[in-house]
Symmetry: C2
Subunit: 86 residues, 2 copies
């Protein structure tokens, strides 16, 4: 395994896993005022594109990482829409 593979795997794991504490924080506090609707809308669509990209190339690490990220991003987006007091 090359150095680039190791550092890429660490990067993919951290960027994917990072949405777990955000989803948990939002679920626990229900405080969504500081969360940008624009960010999670664009991010969710963007990650969905990455998921399709992974499928098209049959690159399963890309599919798995983006499936997990998409699930977490959609959960945060749903909470943003549900807990938002206008």
């Amino acid at each position: 395994m090359q150095a680039s593979d190791i550092i890429g795997t660490i990067g993919a794991t951290l960027t994917t896993a990072s949405f777990v504490p955000q989803a948990w924080h939002t679920f626990k506090t229900k405080d969504v005022r500081g969360i940008s609707l624009g960010m999670y809308s664009a991010f969710t669509v963007g990650v969905a594109c990455w998921l399709v990209y992974g499928f098209l190339l049959s690159e399963w690490p890309i599919v798995i990482a983006n499936f997990i990220t998409l699930t977490l991003a959609m959960a945060i987006l749903t909470m943003k829409l549900r807990y938002h007091a206008p």
Copy 2:
């Protein structure tokens, strides 16, 4: 240009650009209570790994996208630390 290239480019653009509205929202409102410190800590380190990965492979689209994302993530992380009232 293949379909996978187009969808990958859209995905990269959206996931990178999505941090602009979050950085702007946080800068404007200074409301960082809903933002997870754990997320932005892990995410910033993860994106830095992706940046190194891009350099190691001389993949400049990866370098450019992650340089922009790293700048935005660091700005949000800095605001989280600065505006946080314990």
